[in-house]
Symmetry: C2
């Protein structure tokens, strides 16, 4: 596998919900970028994968500064696996700024696709899924939550 | 595995983009509901899975009538695997009416999640994916396409 950023989906509820290609990529990665290194190291152990390589924490609060560090590692020949705590990275998870920067600097980016909570929820909802909107996390505060629902109620989609 | 409707995601571009649980479920299924039986039988062959069981075609034009037939089979003890030609069923693919009917008749429905083109496209786009709208297939006709884009341009999301 060539050097680059590999966006790898990991299991959500069932350890068997991972593809063969994802396991191969996590094994081949020379560096792992993840949200919480403890969570991801635990996943590696459960999957029987080696953890004797650098694990870098990338989250909403350090993404701006960490992204260039990661890109420099790719330029130096590393194969970086980007994972979130669970599911498909970037969908309501960090990573978008890193991908954008990779694009700008013409660094190889690919996805090793897999499970996503969003897709599962839609499938099981009993609602039409040929048109829908994903609005992200719902705010905890009453006012912000009410404002969001007011805004969304006029959108013609699931 | 108990009888019910199992919504199984299948590979899109790479045959290795399927989870272990999906392969097990396709193997255990007593009936397969799919869009195009030729496409799905070919996939089974490529994956080394047995095709000596009924394959039922379920598409946008017969979903209403076929759904009850499938539910009756589940009630009779069958394990039905619902797949689309590729990717995650129900996302711009048939199946929603069947799931809705299962819910109404309290028939067991679950998802065996996997890859989805939508998620991959979002991850690689370089756009924020914490809020987005999926609008389905874009019409071929100029007028219909223009109307859709007019409608969408005011929606505050990717």
């Amino acid at each position: 596998m060539k050097s680059g950023l590999y966006i790898v989906a990991t299991p959500i509820g069932n350890l068997k919900d991972i593809t063969g290609r994802a396991v191969e990529t996590l094994k081949a990665a020379t560096v792992v970028a993840c949200e919480d290194t403890r969570v991801t190291k635990k996943l590696f152990s459960l999957l029987g994968l080696p953890i004797n390589k650098p694990f870098i924490s990338l989250h909403n609060f350090n993404e701006e500064e960490k992204s260039q560090e990661i890109i420099d590692k790719i330029k130096a020949g590393n194969l970086i696996a980007l994972v979130s705590d669970a599911g498909s990275p970037l969908i309501s998870d960090p990573g978008y700024k890193l991908v954008k920067k990779c694009r700008e600097q013409e660094v190889y980016v690919t996805t090793i696709p897999g499970v996503s909570a969003l897709v599962s929820a839609l499938q099981l909802s009993g609602f039409p899924a040929n048109r829908f909107m994903f609005a992200g996390f719902i705010p905890n505060k009453d006012k912000a939550r009410k404002d969001l629902f007011e805004e969304l109620k006029n959108i013609p989609a699931t």
